[in-house]
């Protein structure tokens, strides 16, 4: 760092080289606060073992060919090349996006409506409803998938029974691509609408009532105050729920796996990216490839989060 430009900066005049001096100072600082560092160390140690190391290792693994037991051999970019040229991977990406759209948009809408109703003054037994809406979120996912499996069952399902009551023909839900995707989406909506409603509710309650009162005095209607006060004030919370639902939606796995199996059902309608990753790594034993798919998914989620963020923040009406 012998940049002459730096010499103009007012540095303390010392004969000792700058670098080692600051190092000394840093280690002295650490030594001085050793107890504090020791106190915070468990998190960092555990994170390094269970968080950082797996991430770094999966990066390394994505360039290897490995069946899980034998020797690892360096595979260059072959895993990534195979991924980008594999129609099943793109099929999985498409399925995941479709399921995400089918589930997230209705889910967040329902959540907003539920939150609005729970916040309304005319609702009684509010705590009961709050718990009731949140309950699906803590139900075992596998149990939920099995129950929904019987609801959507092709011949003897509850849904087909209801259709038959109205004299309609039964639908082979789980033998159709759209049927599988619909079933998975309904499962996601059922499970997460209440959770997001509780988050929206917290957001609604943090909006000062003076804003609504002032709007009322100025003659604003209920709908006007909803769109001009509620929605803008909820924007950061909506952004939060959109991003978390995106991350969650991109990682859907248990629902399709329990509902239609490792292959994603008929012609892979329920084959999501994580299910594809799971199948390739743990069923077909391509662990290096599985790691590469994991990184592909990382890129996708990052892209989508940025797009979401731009979309929700993009409207400049926010002051």
């Amino acid at each position: 760092m012998d940049n002459p430009l730096l010499n103009h900066t007012p540095v303390e005049h010392k004969p000792v080289p700058k670098k080692s001096k600051s190092q000394d100072r840093l280690s002295a600082q650490i030594w001085k606060h050793r107890k504090e560092y020791l106190a915070i160390s468990p998190f960092y140690i555990l994170f390094a073992i269970f968080g950082l190391f797996p991430i770094a290792f999966s990066m390394f693994l994505s360039f290897q060919k490995w069946d899980g037991i034998g020797e690892m051999t360096f595979n260059g970019l072959n895993n990534y090349q195979f991924m980008l040229t594999d129609p099943e991977f793109w099929r999985a990406v498409g399925n995941t996006l479709l399921i995400w759209i089918y589930s997230t948009i209705p889910m967040l809408f329902i959540a907003l409506v539920v939150a609005f109703l729970l916040n309304a003054s005319f609702v009684r037994f509010r705590t009961f409803f709050r718990i009731g809406y949140f309950l699906p979120n803590v139900t075992s996912l596998v149990a939920v998938a099995i129950v929904f499996g019987t609801v959507f069952s092709n011949n003897y399902g509850l849904l087909n029974y209801i259709l038959s009551l109205f004299g309609l023909n039964s639908v082979e839900w789980l033998n159709k691509t759209w049927g599988i995707q619909l079933a998975i989406s309904v499962m996601v909506i059922w499970r997460w609408a209440g959770y997001n409603a509780i988050i929206y509710l917290a957001g609604l309650q943090s909006i000062p009532t003076v804003l609504y009162e002032a709007a009322k005095i100025d003659g604003a209607s209920g709908i006007q105050s909803f769109f001009k006060i509620t929605i803008p004030n909820l924007r950061p919370i909506i952004l939060f729920t959109v991003i978390t639902s995106t991350i969650g939606g991109m990682q859907i796995f248990t629902e399709p796996q329990v509902l239609v199996g490792n292959d994603g059902g008929v012609s892979g309608g329920g084959l999501t990216i994580v299910l594809y990753l799971y199948r390739e790594a743990f069923v077909n034993n391509y662990f290096g490839y599985g790691a590469a798919v994991g990184w592909g998914m990382f890129v996708l989620i990052a892209l989508f989060s940025i797009v979401n963020w731009k979309m929700v923040q993009g409207n400049p009406s926010n002051d």
């Binding site: 037991i69 019987t150 011949n155």
Partner: protein
């Protein structure tokens, strides 16, 4: 200083405890053999009896739940912390490339007991290079399960011997199916799904996807792959399939409601069927399968190279799998024997109420004796998955069979290059 040292020592101990380094305190004189198996892959009481039979040996039997294969592979990858004896399922061939991680049982005296076992089953545990990594546990001989009452009503033969005599080939089976479905106005289907037809025809064959040198033979005439595909597609085109995935809730309901008249399945399907279709008790019978005898599944025992007591481990395995104990395991938890002597045991002649007082053991024993030895290869499951996916598309979405076959082959070739 002292307190700091104590704190860091305490943390170190804590980390060691968390990471599971504790537990290797085997300072006794007895030799401890750790065994990994999954529920109902071995008889628990038989395992307990090992310690009486072999004084000085302690068995630490661990039932591994969840995804057994993944846990085994993780352990192999870690290189330590594994058991002495480990059970394998029918994916044994996937471990052939790692055969150096297991003891060659031929070196521990397996040659002596080789004549006691069914030849084809024994060979499934031997690598193409000739080292034996896995000792047979049970087998899954296949046969035709059929509703004798429905067959009789439709004017088909209904006694097992007559069924076997008259419905001997897949063509005859399909013709019988048409007759039966016509009689019941298509309210009853002849079979459950066509991927099962595909699986069963391959299970009856001695050449499926790979030659022993690992080369793909699916396109050569000796392989059963194309025949199995065409036969399965024919069944679909003749509308003989109820299109229900085996042992799904749909399948269970269809079986219990009498919507499916027959299917070819392994001996272990007996329990699945009995649980799925209690209302049809007494109406089922079992006959030798059309197209020949085959095998689905069946497990093995192996000794990890990390074991300190390979000879003791092998002696224990030999004891667990001797013919008398195989008969006991069959009686208790329905593990169908792999020892030829056990196939003649009196228990095979016991009648079963669910199967109209037929002794199905006789049919399955005969089937087990006639299975052809086959080489599966490490990628059998991958290829089977690809073909089954295309077959489902044909059956359920009406995909053009020729296009599906081409897609399947293209995908298989891509898979083989990985």
């Amino acid at each position: 200083m002292n307190t700091r040292r104590m704190v860091s020592l305490g943390l170190l101990i804590l980390i060691l405890l968390i990471s599971g380094c504790a537990g290797t305190t085997s300072s006794e004189k007895t030799k401890t053999l750790t065994l990994w198996y999954w529920n109902r892959s071995l008889d628990d009481e038989l395992i307990k009896s090992v310690e009486q039979k072999f004084p000085g040996i302690r068995i630490n039997a661990q039932k591994i739940g969840g995804d057994f294969k993944s846990k085994l592979k993780t352990t192999l990858a870690a290189g330590s912390g594994g058991p002495d004896i480990v059970a394998f399922n029918d994916w044994v061939a996937e471990l052939f490339t790692s055969s150096d991680r297991f003891y060659d049982l031929y070196e521990l005296g397996a040659k002596e007991i080789e004549p006691d076992f069914l030849d084809w089953k024994w060979k499934l545990g031997v690598t193409p290079e000739g080292s034996m990594i896995a000792l047979p546990i049970d087998t899954g001989p296949t046969a035709l399960y059929y509703r004798a009452d429905l067959f009789e009503e439709a004017g088909l033969p209904s006694e097992p011997d007559d069924v076997y005599a008259q419905i001997n080939t897949w063509d005859q089976y399909f013709e019988a199916g048409l007759k039966l479905q016509e009689h019941f106005d298509n309210k009853v289907k002849m079979l459950d799904n066509i991927t099962n037809i595909y699986t069963q025809i391959n299970a009856q064959s001695d050449h499926i996807y790979f030659a022993e040198d690992g080369s793909f033979i699916g396109e050569s005439p000796e392989s059963s792959m194309k025949t199995a595909w065409d036969t399965a597609v024919t069944a679909s085109q003749m509308k003989l399939s109820a299109n229900t995935t085996t042992s799904s809730s749909e399948w269970n309901a269809a079986m219990n409601n009498g919507r499916i008249a027959s299917f070819v399945g392994a001996v272990w399907m007996k329990e699945i069927l009995m649980q799925a279709a209690p209302d049809t008790s007494g109406k089922w019978k079992v006959a030798r399968a059309p197209g020949g005898d085959g095998n689905n599944g069946g497990s093995f025992l192996a000794i990890m190279k990390t074991s300190k007591y390979p000879q003791e481990a092998f002696d224990v395995m030999k004891y667990i799998q001797n013919p008398e104990n195989q008969v006991q395991s069959f009686k208790k938890i329905n593990l169908f024997p792999s020892a030829t002597e056990a196939l003649d045991a009196p228990v095979m002649k016991e009648t079963e109420e669910f199967f109209g007082n037929q002794a199905t053991g006789e049919v399955f024993s005969e089937s087990a004796r006639n299975v052809k030895p086959a080489y599966f290869g490490g990628k059998y499951a991958n290829l089977n998955g690809i073909v089954n996916r295309e077959l489902s598309s044909v059956a359920l979405e009406g995909k053009n069979p020729d296009k599906a076959w081409k897609d399947a082959l293209a995908r298989v070739k891509k898979e083989l290059l990985r």
